[in-house]
Symmetry: D2
Subunit: 344 residues, 4 copies
């Protein structure tokens, strides 16, 4: 049994973390830390969680205690820099769900996040925890950078291809659509129901922070072609759908491609290969990533779908916690074929 | 031809007013006044309106000019009190789309709006402009209080009944659902797509400002039974649906009821009596109010549907303008069977 | 451990039953029976359920086997009449989720369902299983009629009031809104996304089959006032929101009303009394019913919210199964504060 | 003044055609023809259109009269083959909104539509009427093939680029999302609100009939690179959003690209170039196509948005009618800055 601290527990991701931890058989104590909501009860912020956990008063992060075994940080970028080095220096395990430790290079960090990185050593020593496509020994790490939501959906569906057929690739274009919950709970006029009802828009075109994160992981696996990444908002709250179009130099036998993906994922707990493009609602409320591959002539189209708050954030973080402690990676996420995803 | 000033032109209602005025055959000049958005262009606030009107720079309301014939005020409650008396004193016609002049009594105003009314004389001399159910001579008025969105849908569907069968009524309960645009464009967390997607909630239960407004009009027409009014938010942007349940002392012949409604509305331009409950999307984007009446034993159920921003605000205001100037009330609202509702 | 048969396993309710049974600690075998989908796999009908259960081939109901301990019937009205008497005669426990056994009288059944009832004795000997408001001894019954979705939300929120303050009531009006999943999976043009997007409509006004079901239960508890019930479709898939307006003869002290509800529900597993009107999304994906009571003068407004497929169907059926076997009623529905609601 | 026949007037596109024709200043008589709905009134199929047009009884297409000047055919593919040759042979003008005459080659038609084409001569003599990007002399044609919805959004945004920078292109990938109304009004389970609420899915991947239509037009303008086209359904009714990613051989100066688009569209009535990615709701209910171009290094991302039923069907057809008769192309589509788009 371990005790867990959740720093930034009053956002959408923090709520999901809390629910998963609360249901996890090996987590016996949870402390929630936040800034502006310190002193409030979780159930006053999320009324659906009334009576869900024993002590639901939010602690002030300014009095961050060091008595937990593992800490999740779910904070706006820049803020984890204040807590993660401290926690690591005290021998704690940390899983950071923000963007502060995902890039490997301090130069890339300042270029994309417009901030100087204050613990660049941790950028090198962290594990980029793409849980379903990661053969690293978690024992070697104290800090896991939990991947971004878009990178999770994109990399899980694309990495097997680029790693195996790199020399055949002409170009890769990922077009991704996300529900609005990815933008968080801070009120902004352009995210109102009145504005988003029936609406769609591209945003951060050619300029999304998840692009260098994806490219970094692709390139570490040998990719060296042209990559484009374009993000859009859907008129719904939850879910990410990615469509990746690959133009090839020559035709590749479909069976060969399928074999690569089957090898990678046929025994996977959470990646499901599909014979048809996934429906987003097959995965919403779950930790699954559903993937379909379509090949015609020299064009490959890969579609993938995830729940951005679960597989793209809190669910994958729990999966990383399980791997950190060498527990079954499904623990707290699936039980007797039931996902612990929708909780109260 | 008249010139028009729109005070509060940068909200949802102001935008609709601008679109209708821009298309109106007898409006040849439009000035837009606002506070925080003064100096900006309408097309920068509403990009769908690029090139829609000739001069779209918003004037500061602190320099309100008196060179327009008619003024629309579309402001948060309390703010019209600053401009309306001034305009009236200069002989201007005014149509106020806010709540400041709808109630007849200064005591009611302070009770419901928590503000002292500074021009109580105008409360008495104004016309409550429920355009489709109003036999007043508009020539006798300078100030029209444009009804609230909920009162419009409720009163149009209920007034013929209460006015004709008052003695037979045991109780009246109106349950109303509205899209989120009624709450305006100011960002609030509880109105985010992330919160409202798939959601519904009652609000201001037993405490909505539109309740005394409805009751005042019912009572002026003889109603003296118990009335309840409950409002809810729909997970969409536009539209109001009201369901009014009337319990009777004795059965009333259905034909008698239908006759009353037919007499009231059979030649109406904008009220359409229906043989089945209306669909909300029959009226969204139009100035129509669709109404259905169902009678069984001693229960009458009346459903009605409107576009809250058009029939419940800007469309009815244009209709009131037409009646103010003794023009055809459909002018600028319907042309050859086409509603000028959805504009760019 | 028991074995369970689900008759009508390929609809929305059947799917939820399957998911709950699959996760239930005391259910060790599940058989699914259906008509037109016999021979297919559940995972081909609901692709999100791939690998979720061991043997997911649907059996033909024409070969209904009698080797299960408990049967759920989730069928269009009229069809349960073919199976329930047979199963009961063989000593099986049955929970019927359809409308065939909810009314107590064969006359009412033919009046509302336009069918002669072929097992009227079972109408008398069944238990109407409103699980959260039912003190019956389940040992005395073999057949449970699982309440309809609207009646569940309405009765849980209204019964304590009518049972305790019947003599003070002038009239009761329930206005209910439901997501489209209540209408099932059969394709109808008026239920298409293209028709329902942004839409709302009342339906079956003064003529919904759930009205006599509600009234029967109210009257069994002493209610004898006028009752109206009006249903609407929401532009979403899941959830029911009810608003019940009660006009009183005299004021009733709020504390007295609260005391009645607290007595009824303060230790309830699944009914949560709220200080503000519930949000529908607090309960979607769960077996909870959230209720708020607002009193002003002689008007009481009660709002309630449920998931129509869970608390209004499959979740309540599982709860009834738990009570049938004298298990903890939360079993399979909540675990460590986690609802087993959203499953894959 | 002309008289117009609409064949297939009871679908979503037919309805829009009817509304536009009804409001058009130069159309004085409209006849509606259909098959299964013959004898019904338009207002019984679309209750929002009650009283909208004078004679709204649908004629049987089996008694197709030849007394109209212009015919619109809005039919499932294959069906226009029965009427178009007949009408053309009688000297009528025809605008076909279906897919039967869009491809130039009978071989392509049979390959993609699985039907032998029975009037291949018309494939050669028709005009492909991409109204906003078409310099043809309409006097030379009797038959206009109105472009598909996806091709309209894709070609308007892409043609200027491929026509001017063909030699610099490595690959082009268009990812398009559409509301469900594009799939028509026939009830299908997978298009129900219950299935599409909160859902997204790719469909017809590498196999959509609009792909050869787009490619044909690109190639006629010199394009000879690799092109991929992927379509998705949005959880809304109306609108198309396309994202086209172009990988280049070398960087191209942004100003050069902007100049090409400005030259093409700066005086366009209906194409609006944007400095930021369009919002879908800027164009829904209008005949506009909004386009944004983003360039970074050797990647160009072009986003475009249209209303699939207006610019992607009926609106463009009216525009084509205007050009057919040498009228102002905005006639009936914009009046004093008001779009005649949302009609009742």
């Amino acid at each position: 049994m371990i005790s867990v601290g959740i720093i930034g527990g009053s956002g959408y991701t923090g709520k999901k973390l809390l629910q998963f931890c609360n249901a996890h058989p090996f987590v016996d104590r949870i402390k929630i830390y936040a800034n502006s909501t310190a002193g409030e009860k979780i159930s006053s912020i999320f009324p659906d969680m009334v009576n869900a956990i024993e002590d639901d008063v939010i602690q002030s992060v300014s009095n961050l205690s060091l008595d937990n075994d593992l800490y999740f940080t779910a904070l706006p970028h820049g803020e984890a820099l204040y807590y993660v080095p401290l926690l690591i220096s005290h021998g704690k395990k940390v899983i950071d769900l923000g963007g502060d430790y995902r890039l490997d290079s301090a130069e890339d960090y300042v270029a994309w996040y417009k901030l100087k990185h204050t613990s660049p050593g941790l950028l090198k020593s962290k594990l980029y925890g793409l849980a379903d496509n990661c053969n690293a020994n978690y024992d070697d790490y104290n800090l896991i950078a939990n991947p971004g939501c878009y990178p999770t959906a994109t990399l899980l569906s694309l990495l097997p291809f680029t790693s195996n057929f790199n020399n055949e690739i002409v170009s890769v274009s990922t077009v991704a659509y996300s529900g609005t919950s990815g933008a968080g709970k801070s009120p902004k006029a352009e995210l109102l129901m009145s504005e988003m009802d029936g609406n769609v828009r591209a945003y951060n075109v050619n300029n999304h922070r998840h692009q260098p994160e994806i490219l970094q992981q692709l390139q570490k696996n040998g990719f060296n072609s042209s990559f484009a990444f374009t993000t859009h908002l859907l008129p719904i709250s939850v879910g990410i759908y990615t469509t990746t179009v690959i133009h090839l130099k020559n035709k590749i036998d479909v069976e060969l491609i399928n074999q690569v993906y089957n090898t990678e994922y046929s025994s996977s707990s959470f990646v499901r290969l599909r014979n048809e493009p996934p429906n987003l609602n097959w995965v919403v409320g779950t930790n699954f990533c559903d993937i379909n591959i379509s090949v015609k002539d020299k064009v490959v189209v890969i579609t993938s779908a995830i729940d951005n708050l679960i597989k793209g954030a809190a669910g994958q973080a729990i999966q990383n916690m399980n791997k950190f402690y060498n527990w079954d990676e499904k623990l707290g996420l699936i039980n007797s074929g039931v996902q612990y995803a929708q909780v109260y």
